[in-house]
């Protein structure tokens, strides 16, 4: 935990790899993890999403940006059907995960959520030990039958979340004793331990200080080798740093989605340009 990295070398925009921009694939050219087709959503009489259609590619980081209340979090929470916990909501259209409908009648919501990990805006560890927090997902999902397997899974998950070195000597103490940034990484470890396919992150760093934020961003960058990550963020620099693709939401509609480098340099829509240049929002 050195304290130098306030002026870290800026992570190059991920897709700015050797391939010249023009030849790089857009979101639709890659294998698809999640796809929304004309998806609308209402809280009571308020329409929060207005016919969203988009494709989220596999094993990439996709960022949702937009001003507050633009629907980006609502859409994220529609992917694992978290919104339906709120009474009085309804939807139209469909979202698919690897080609399977998320909303059709016979879908097992519990099974669906097991495949989709989620990290929330405010870290929400259970008031249990660090170990029991990480082991919660594997336990309810029956992923590790033997104690040794569970121990290993907990360790791997904590390592993937870059937390192992800080907590390995106090796994059985309360998770509430960790700092805010550590708690958020614990929540990431907890989500990873359930061995999801997709990781949804709802402004995971908005409550953290810059150093903790940076750790989370580095973590996201490392995790995309294995996971499809969707991240909602208020912070456009963050979107530019961590994501391969960016979707700009405005007033419940998807304005534009494309490669992060292109969206931030040559947006197609005026509203996108206005937002990313700070003219509103």
């Amino acid at each position: 935990m050195d304290a130098q990295p306030l002026q870290r070398p800026r992570t190059p925009i991920p897709t700015a790899a050797p391939v010249p921009p023009a030849q790089q694939p857009g979101p639709a050219a890659l294998p698809t993890a999640i796809e929304a087709r004309d998806f609308s959503f209402w809280y009571g009489a308020n329409q929060a999403l207005n016919g969203i259609s988009l494709v989220i590619p596999d094993r990439r980081v996709t960022a949702f940006i937009g001003p507050s209340g633009c629907g980006k979090s609502t859409f994220l929470r529609s992917i694992n059907r978290m919104n339906e916990l709120i009474p009085g909501t309804r939807h139209q259209g469909d979202v698919t995960l690897r080609g399977e409908s998320v909303y059709r009648g016979e879908v097992d919501v519990v099974g669906l959520r097991r495949r989709i990990g989620m990290v929330f805006q405010k870290s929400n560890p259970f008031p249990k030990s660090i170990y029991d927090n990480v082991a919660y997902g594997p336990r309810v999902n029956g992923l590790a039958r033997k104690r040794a397997d569970l121990d290993e899974l907990v360790e791997t998950s904590l390592r993937s979340a870059a937390l192992w070195d800080e907590v390995s000597d106090r796994l059985h103490t309360s998770a509430l004793g960790l700092s805010g940034g550590q708690q958020q990484r614990l929540c990431i470890a907890r989500a990873l331990a359930a061995q999801p396919d997709v990781l949804l992150m709802d402004e995971p760093a908005s409550a953290l200080d810059p150093i903790a934020t940076q750790k989370i961003e580095e973590l996201i960058y490392g995790l995309k080798q294995q996971y499809t990550i969707v991240i909602v963020t208020h912070n456009m620099q963050q979107a530019a740093r961590v994501s391969d693709f960016t979707a700009f939401f405005y007033m419940g509609s998807l304005v534009e989605m494309g490669r992060t480098d292109l969206l931030f340099t040559t947006p197609k829509e005026d509203r996108t340009e206005a937002y990313i240049t700070g003219r509103f929002g």
Partner: protein, 338 residues
Amino acid sequence: MTAVGERDAAPAAGPPGEEAKPAAVRAAMRWHQSSRSDRAWRRLLVGFGLTIPVLLVGIAALLAHGAWPALKKFGGGFLTGSQWDPVSDAFGGWPFVFGTLASSLIAVLIAVPLSIGLALFLTELAPRWLAAPIGFATELLAAIPSVVYGLWGIFVLVPFLRDWVETPLSDRLGGHLGIFEGPAYGPGLLSGGVILAIMIVPFVSAVSREVISAVPRAQREAALALGATRWETTWQIVLPFARAGLIGAVMLGLGRAIGETMAVTMVIGNTPQVPHSLFGPAYTMASVLANEFAEASGDVHRSALMLVALLLLGITLVINACARALVWHVNRGPGGSR
């Protein structure tokens, strides 16, 4: 606390030349120079704050004074003695202590699962249009006067329990289990416990409901997002999170059950004996006070009743202290340093 807050809020304006003095001295001067109305206000608040402790000590002292002759005469044997005979001035309080504790325990055993189940239904499951009226109806139960419960107990609950619960249980299990033995009188320990249970449900369920709905939505969402079912979320996340408050709810119910007088007096049978089964008539501390104090014949009798009252006060205090200790312990337990 109040005094400190008052001091901070005291007006900052002071006499000229104040700036020359160090801050601590200025603060002290402000404290002394605070306006007359401030001082009066402070005294008033201190008075309010002291009312309750003074009242409690006063009650305890009065009871101790009144109970002293009986305590001198019977000593610790009062607690274990089972004879209660005003004619020959022989007094033992054990039947009342037993009756109070046993009926309250029955009440808690019945009311707690019911109340927590009800609270879970209202917070986790019921749609809003159903939760509101059911919650309201439950709270209305608390508004029914105790004596009305007692009447209902005499005319409805006691006959029902006798014919549909006590008699069958006594016939089928009486030979095997001592607690179901013996004739079903109707009025007795079980009837007292059941009526108490009904009376404490509104309190236990209202507190449980508050406590359970205070569990952050983020906790539930975290569990559900990890693929936990509603059942798992409730049992593994919501209830453990709420456990300290739930213990408080149970203790509140227990406290009310122990102190309740009228309804239980009307259905428990009022016989100063330790019943040999759940169905036998019994007596509680509060009931004997209500029934006998007005007609207490002699000084010893009166003093013995005072001693019962002192014991009742002591038991409620001990139970409250235990509740505090338990809540504190649970909050400090391995998982939850909240």
